[in-house]
Symmetry: C2
Subunit: 429 residues, 2 copies
Amino acid sequence: MRIINNPKKSTWESLSTRATINKQGLGETVQTIINDVKLNKDKAIKKYSQLLDNVSLSSFSVTKNEIEDAKNLVSEELKQAIRLANSNIEKFHSSQKEKETKIETTEGVTCWRKSVPIEKVGLYIPGGTAPLFSTILMLGIPAKLAGCEEIILCTPPNKNGKINPVILYTASLVGVTKIFKVGGAQAIAAMAYGTETIPNVYKILGPGNQFVTKAKELVQQDGIAIDMPAGPSEVLVIADETSKPAFVAADLLSQAEHGVDSQSILVTTSNTVAQNVVTELNKQLEDIPRKDIAIKAIENSFCLVLEDIESCFEFSNVYAPEHLIIASNLADSCIDKIKNVGSVFLGNYSCESAGDYASGTNHTLPTNGFSKSYSGVSLDSFVKKITFQKVTKEGIKSIGNAIELMAEAEGLQAHKNAVTLRLKEINNV
Amino acid sequence: MRIINNPKKSTWESLSTRATINKQGLGETVQTIINDVKLNKDKAIKKYSQLLDNVSLSSFSVTKNEIEDAKNLVSEELKQAIRLANSNIEKFHSSQKEKETKIETTEGVTCWRKSVPIEKVGLYIPGGTAPLFSTILMLGIPAKLAGCEEIILCTPPNKNGKINPVILYTASLVGVTKIFKVGGAQAIAAMAYGTETIPNVYKILGPGNQFVTKAKELVQQDGIAIDMPAGPSEVLVIADETSKPAFVAADLLSQAEHGVDSQSILVTTSNTVAQNVVTELNKQLEDIPRKDIAIKAIENSFCLVLEDIESCFEFSNVYAPEHLIIASNLADSCIDKIKNVGSVFLGNYSCESAGDYASGTNHTLPTNGFSKSYSGVSLDSFVKKITFQKVTKEGIKSIGNAIELMAEAEGLQAHKNAVTLRLKEINNV
């Protein structure tokens, strides 16, 4: 891992620039798939499942029997671990429920807002070598808590048409209503527009490869909401002399093993800390199974040694990381320095894996600098906050004249009339 | 206004379909402008201001003197009206501040979230015949309350290079930090990527014509957040025998005067109510200055007579209107029937104009059926909710094993290691 000593501030922006993958032609390919699914529905889904995933299925609905069977195939200790995580995530996301607060802005004018669930949501869970059941917890639990009526899940099956049992167990645990063995852009298109088998939904959430990500971007332009724009995962660790180099190295590596395009950034005020972490990192790297991936990710990563702790946070705010670990005994006193980040881990025992799985916070977070303007997934992601107002006769008497003046100044006479008529009626009684 | 009696449920979906405008070529045109602004910055802004808005300016920054002058050009009574609206909007949006709630999900594992302002936001206010200063209140007040450091505003000047004084007065009142005389897609591009004069921002909010809307869509794909997808404005009124036909007609017309593509929908259980409203509407229509626009909007609108009040709300939920007026003395008892809507107006004295200007709720709301998954603008639109977690030694001992098991099951050994190292250290002490 390269160490950069006190780089000029003018270079921070470019140090913070994430690598972009060449997406030439991706949009066209994905749009073709989307158009085909829109038109030919299930038939198109079958075609692309065969063509792209090499799977041929007569039905892609997961049956109740398959779910029941899956429950028996997951070890009791893993189920217990999942239930513990489930409980913590549920507790934290329950605390995000907003109480209705009625505000009388003027006598007779009362305003409030009410959280109402998005009726139908779709979750996407990628396939591949590992079953990402933790993401089902992160999306399914708040969806259920919010009160979404239909929570569907699409995930690609393996070549034998099977889905990993732990995926099915977790989906069932959190209350997913329907599961479909469909992956890729065709799954996103199916959830956006509906097919004979797969219902359309109003919002689609979950990670995926570049085809899935592009498909989400494209259906968003058609008014289907999505969780957030996506990019490779990343962590930034701020470490001082009170940090533990072995822990910091382990945290950097746990980010690096995600993918070759992941970034693990270390920012510290101490050259010794930097050296010690790099030594530890090289040592630990030897023993992890996903070494080849981690090495490449670490090549794209770096360690900054900066003058003072203020500069460390300043750089972090420019970089706007998905995860920020403050590996220091003084972590708690630094909270107000933080501006742009998805989720923060305070102190030497708050490792990123804790938040990835079981602390209770959500692990679906803004990457790629998007934490400057986006929040991670929360209970809010599954509700609309509808505003209400009740204006009484008294109320319209108080604010009516102001409305008339403003409407007239905006050239909207009919807006004014709606008030004038009411004021006349009240004054005539 | 055509009255449709008891249409079959199977037709509701198509009745709810909004008209689409032909956007052929729009994307290419707007992308060209964006690319040009990205590359040539201020020079490109000048070029398009000249070309599209017929304005030639040596500087498009609004000066302090221009703002001071503007304050004297707005009538005292209009300023008072704006200040009243300002006060109500501020009260309601202040109530949306979220308190930090720390949750101990497991002993030694504490999670919470903190609202942190988006540092830099850009507001767009369209030009045209009328100065839409009310939208400045709706966007500027929550931006300021949230604590955004930079709040810039772009709006096109008239042919003499001037901005309407009431726009400048309102922008100054709510605390906009910089105002620029730039409109159209070029303004959106400038705020997204920055020019020599105009700073880039992380989120862009505000209404606009199809060029502005398309530009917002395109920069969103580049990671710049936007408020929400846009479409023509609309109201749905549910009226029963306790409604007042003249009021309902006035509300339908105040929507219709917005634009030829606006929709004003009446849904009622009573044929008599329907007839009376239509009679009133035709009468009132004669007297409004924007009659030509309203007539066209009413042609695209309709009145449904349905069997019972349940059906009225069911249709409203399928239509998912921006504004819903419940013109009935029984409005309060219907709140739980509402699923999809931007903002709700309860009872005969809660006219839409009240919410448009001065009740306190926000008038930037999801149109085009997007209220199925989107909320209107609120304080939330100007903050990120960052999650925090603090895991103590005790905490990692409690949840560590679950994390190890889950990480291993997902094939992420380095994630597991980060916990294992910590557990070992704790147990060795």
